[in-house]
């Protein structure tokens, strides 16, 4: 989740007010890229290649797209610091160079997690991805992404380690609250129980929510 806090964007364009450079332009870039990716996925889902998916699979696919976009954005920004400093929330390109290892690993982990849930969302029989391929990508992406997050954690300094631990603790609390409440209602017959993909989507979304709350509380979403 370290990568996600970097997707809060930044600057350039000499002469423009600070809030335009630090907030408006990056937010617009993020919004346009995010909207385009989500719209592209919805178009693909509705195309003849897929023929539509149920609600759980559609939500899971969109969650996968969000993770993939964030992961690829962080990876691209880190690989091209001069460009990355314009849309990632850093002071300058050198800061991206200084944190290259952590950000590259984190970005790769997020992209793999995104690919993992995306493959599961598009799995047969409803989707076009054969089930054995979906299993390989789903499990492989999850395991390799998690494996990459370990060296990223080790290469982090104490602030990032504290944030990782806080975000993990908060996401557990959120999962307990949301999934627990859902399970309680389903057990008592007030609602349908969560489908397997719903649970996966919940884990992914709540982890992202917890990460953003944590980095926000540490002042890391404020423009640098």
């Amino acid at each position: 989740m370290i990568g996600s806090q970097k997707m809060m964007i930044e600057e350039k364009s000499p002469g423009a007010p600070r809030w335009v450079k630090k907030l408006l332009i990056p937010a617009l870039i993020g919004g346009v890229v995010g909207y385009a990716a989500a719209a592209g996925m919805m178009t693909f889902i509705d195309s003849s290649a897929v023929g539509g998916l149920d609600k759980s699979a559609t939500i899971a696919a969109l969650v996968g797209v969000v993770y993939a976009v964030i992961g690829l954005g962080v990876g691209f920004g880190t690989a091209s610091p001069a460009i990355g400093a314009r849309f990632l929330n850093v002071e300058d390109a050198d800061e991206l160079r200084e944190q290259k290892k952590v950000l590259t690993l984190s970005g790769a982990a997020m992209a793999l997690w995104g690919a993992s849930i995306l493959a599961l969302a598009l799995a047969a029989p409803d989707g076009p991805v054969p089930q054995n391929v979906a299993l390989a990508v789903g499990a492989g992406g999850l395991v390799i992404g998690t494996w990459l997050s370990l060296p990223a954690y080790r290469a982090s300094d104490e602030l990032m380690r504290a944030i990782s631990l806080e975000a993990s603790a908060m996401s557990f609390g959120l999962v307990l609250l949301v999934a627990g409440t859902w399970a309680m209602l389903a057990h008592l017959g007030y609602s349908a129980g969560p489908a397997p993909l719903d649970l996966l989507s919940l884990f992914y979304v709540l982890m992202l929510v917890a990460s953003f709350i944590t980095v926000g509380r540490r002042g890391m979403l404020a423009p640098r």
Binding site: E91, D94, E95, E98, Q99, D157, E158, L159, M160, A162, R217, R218, G219, M220, A222, R224
Partner: protein, 70 residues
């Protein structure tokens, strides 16, 4: 916790990046400490005090007072 890290850094004429490099942490950490969003670990606080040649209580201000035993 309130701190005087920025004042001491300014006195030395160092950027956040320069201080981060000297302490072996990220600029984000320096920024978070200076804006009171993060209290550093004891080892990092001790490194800061050695770097600026001041006592830790000179860098980090805590209003807590022990209760009187009487």
């Amino acid at each position: 916790m309130e701190n005087r890290l920025k004042q001491h850094r300014d006195t030395k004429g160092w950027s956040q990046g320069e201080l981060a490099r000297r302490l072996g942490v990220s600029r984000q950490t320096i920024n978070a400490v200076e804006t009171d969003k993060y209290d550093p670990s004891l080892p990092l606080a001790l490194r800061m005090s050695r770097l600026f040649e001041v006592a830790v209580p000179e860098l980090f201000i805590d209003d807590w007072e022990p209760e009187d035993d009487d």
